[in-house]
Amino acid sequence: MLDDKIKQEVSKILANMVKPVTLKLFTQGNECGYCKETHELLNELAAINDKLKLEAFDFETHEAEAKKYGVEELPTIVVMDEKDHGIRFTGIPAGYEFSSLLSAFLMVSTGVAKLTNDTKAFLDNLQKPVHLKVFVTPTCPYCPPAVMLAHAMAFHSDKVTAEMIELSEFPHLAVKYGVQGVPRTVINEKWFQEGAAPEDILVAKIKEAL
């Protein structure tokens, strides 16, 4: 999947990892759109740095595990350490989203989430759960910041979960959520924020949604 040049770049970036990171991958044979490719991609990444631990599950034979991690679409990647922070990638993180994937590895591995103090204070005082779905396409250059922000919020707060969804693989979700432009961050299924909004704008939108 990755050519040698990209592998070298990845190797340099992952050299900044501190703690091991577990990748739980849910697929189903070769049936789903990009299950095979996603599995290959994660295999290649895990081979580059041994701090990345890949655990692959077949959706059908590991029903309990899939349920535990709330997996509904395939492929899904859970990026976690000893704890599940609620960070998910649904669909293959290719194209521009490859940066979001590596960012998530580094964030979990180093324990550093890039958020302002204001945002952290807001997240620390959350009373209700917040679920963020960030809809993207791999060719959208404006999408990774929206994904990274949502994942950072999930990493910082136990109340927040955040999922990147690669829409071209799941057209039914585009219909369900009325998405015809990306990025779009859906908050708790009902509210949404268009575009790659700065932190304070997304925080304001989450406040509205609660």
């Binding site: 999947m1 990755l2 990209i6 770049e9 990845v10 970036i13 490719e37 293959i92 290719a94 194209g95 521009y96 490859f98 940066s99 979001s100 590596l102 890039k114 302002t116 396409t137 791999p138 060719t139 959208c140 250059p141 404006y142 999408c143 990774p144 910041p145 990274m148 829409l167 071209s168 585009a174 009325g178 998405v179 015809q180 432009g181 990306v182 779009r184 268009e194 575009g195 790659a196 700065p198 932190e199 304070d200």
Partner: protein, 321 residues
């Protein structure tokens, strides 16, 4: 399948940089390359996760010299960044929230830090202009788009209206026609600014139709009979209703200069510069689309960036606290 990587430097806010570049499009990246080769300690602050600015939202670039085969916009952007980083340019992905440009040491605020430099280069470029008609804001991202490479894939076998008569409208229509069943280019006159070669390509594409002498007055996507736009004839004011699934707007750009209002001289929103690309304040330069000038292209942005870096280097050589 492509995999795009863009990672940021471990820049240090304690450092006094020789140069901070705000905005990482072709102008900023070229200035960064030149400055890094002059051995200036240079930081580029780009608000998106990926450098390249508007280059990343276009598919093919055909009029940048040196590429007889068209080059992907995102590839050209990525290569420019790689080249500049090779010589030591530091890039961080944060949004600038405030600038303090007067004084010998300039300050640039982001949500995470305050960065200091002897000189500033503004290459913040421009953003797509809106139509400013009813319905536009409500359906932005849900039928109204300003980025074909982002949102084109949502319109397989659908009907699309493209608004505009320039290069972007024509280029992106060809891209959209790969997905859509039909693309109609709506323009207020029958005189198109798009390069002749693009006009010929559009005319040869059976999926693309031209509709001159019309402008959009209302994006009526709430209509129970289906999505439609209301058009007005620019010659006789008659109205026309058009059923579409989506509308892409390419009617030019507005400069990203809000941060500098009241601090730098502007002309129609664009930054006024002298022949050395210097703005109205000492130690502050501008390059690329954000400058008041006649032609806004990758090729001109690159030239602006190189030229500005030359004068910045001279200024830094003589700079003293």
């Amino acid at each position: 399948m492509d995999f795009n990587l863009s990672f940021t430097a471990n820049a240090n806010p304690e450092e006094l940089y020789d140069l901070i570049i705000i905005g990482g499009g072709p102008a900023g990246l070229t200035a960064g390359l030149y400055a890094a080769r002059y051995k200036l300690k240079t930081l580029m602050i780009e608000k998106m996760a990926i450098s390249g600015g508007q280059l990343t939202s276009t598919e093919w670039v055909e009029n940048y010299p040196g590429f007889p085969e068209p080059v992907l916009g995102q590839k050209l952007a990525k290569d420019m960044e790689t080249q500049a980083k090779m010589f030591g340019l530091e890039v961080i992905n944060e949004e600038v929230t405030k600038v303090e440009l007067t004084g010998n040491i300039k300050q640039v605020h982001t949500p995470y830090a305050v960065w200091k430099a002897k000189t500033i280069l503004i290459s913040t470029g421009s953003s797509p202009r809106k139509l400013n008609v009813p319905g536009e804001d409500n359906y932005k991202g849900n039928g109204v788009s300003y980025c074909a490479t982002c949102d084109g894939p949502f319109y397989p076998d659908k009907t699309i209206a493209v608004i505009g008569g320039g290069n972007t409208a024509f280029e992106e229509s060809v891209f959209l026609a790969k997905y859509a069943a039909k693309v109609t280019i709506i323009h207020r006159s029958d005189s198109y600014k798009a390069d002749q070669i693009l006009q010929e390509r559009v005319k040869a594409n059976p999926k693309i139709e031209l509709l001159p002498f019309y402008q959009v007055t209302h994006i009526d996507f709430d209509n129970p009979e289906g999505r439609q736009i209301i058009l007005k004839n620019t010659q006789d004011d008659t109205e026309k209703i058009m059923k579409v699934d989506g509308i892409f707007v390419f009617i030019g750009n507005d400069p990203n200069t809000k941060l500098f209002e009241g601090q730098l001289e502007l002309e129609g929103g664009y930054l006024v510069t002298d022949r050395s690309h210097k703005t109205s304040v000492d130690g502050v330069w501008a390059a690329g689309d954000v400058q008041a000038k006649a032609l806004r292209q990758v090729a001109t942005a690159v030239g602006d960036g190189a030229c500005a870096a030359h004068w910045i280097n001279k200024y830094v050589e003589e700079w003293s606290e």
